[in-house]
Point group: none
Chain length 217, copies 2
């Protein structure tokens, strides 16, 4: 009895490629494909597959919401997230939603096959890069709260980060906050250390992703 799989990704050629790869495995069988979250849920309801390979970024209903729904309604159906992002928030949300695996799109095919057999076996499979994030998060987490990257920054640090990401100089920020430039420097250094970022370009992108500033201007 082979493992029955539904592929969900909004890019057809990627689905085709994955199908072509998976067809080579004797114990794996693609039974359907979907290009958005809603379609995926319909197919799962109809076919109850063993595994869903789920892209995160899909139009309409995204992969995270679809996974949440499937995990709730069909606990036996395992979901493996296939994502371009190693962004912590996506990982966190996807795992909270009930995914049994999380793979990055730059992984090798062997990893996909391995992950499928792993989740069918009732275990969790994560890409190595993802494991790092999850472990890191676990180490930092207290029994009570599950701190996100966002909550690791203090109010003052977020304030400074926002101003930095809006393009202000250290001096301007110091004047605006009525502190010395050295203080602003210290805040920035702590922010960067906490986020493991060492340049303004990456820091700016982080701030945009976190909604602290917009892409405009």
């Amino acid at each position: 009895m082979s493992i029955r799989i539904i592929l969900a990704d909004d890019h057809k050629i990627i689905r085709d490629g994955l199908r072509s790869l998976l067809e080579k495995e004797d114990d794996i069988q693609i039974i359907a494909q979907a290009d958005d979250g809603r379609k995926t849920i319909e197919l799962v309801t109809e076919l109850t597959p063993d595994v869903v390979i789920m892209d995160i970024g899909m139009p309409g209903l995204n992969g995270i919401e679809a996974t949440r729904h499937i995990a709730h309604e069909f606990p036996k159906v395992k979901t493996i997230a296939l994502s371009m992002h190693s962004d912590k928030r996506f990982v966190t949300e996807m795992l909270k939603a009930g995914a049994s695996g999380y793979l990055l799109k730059n992984c090798a095919f062997e990893e996909l096959a391995t992950s499928i057999r792993t989740v069918v076996d009732g275990k969790t499979y994560l890409s190595p890069a993802i494991t790092d994030i999850v472990v890191d998060n676990y180490i930092r987490s207290t029994p009570d709260t599950q701190p996100t990257v966002y909550s690791t920054l203090t109010n003052r640090e977020r304030e400074v980060l926002q101003l930095l990401a809006e393009g202000r100089t250290t001096k301007q920020i110091a004047i605006q906050l009525y502190v010395s430039t050295k203080t602003v420097e210290t805040h920035r250094a702590k922010i960067m250390k906490k986020l493991d970022i060492d340049n303004m370009a990456t820091l700016t992108k982080y701030a945009v992703r976190e909604g602290l500033t917009s892409l405009e201007s």
Copy 2:
């Protein structure tokens, strides 16, 4: 004599999938793969393939710049753009850069195979959705309503901007481009003057909006 192809995409599993699909075609042969623009150029120089399947969004040197370089240095090597975007600006720039084909990632595999044979035959292949854009543009033949990074910045400046927005230091960029740090500084200064931007945060946002770099990482 089969068609010799180089695959360039920064996601390994996508390359694997495409390879798996293309291997089924008797007249098509994958001779190498690359995960960024610079590597692609090196491989083209070394192997002179018939066709390069080129992802647009790659780190370091992006697909548009790589295509421009290849089309100029190796006119016999055909490039097919494989993109998630149907954004007019990407299409325009990719075709201007010298691409012989433009496919959307949600196309069917048959289209990819067809496009390869079409460009080898010396013709141009466009996804239907792309054809609409190009035809629409041709009919109206209006100049671009708003200038993009491609009209205001030189090739070298765009290259530097992309690296800056990816978080590289001046020194790293100088080393990568085999020029002095002073040269990189000059490019950056010119970029900022042209765009009327005076800080890295705003410059990074600009690069993201223009598609030179992604928000991730």
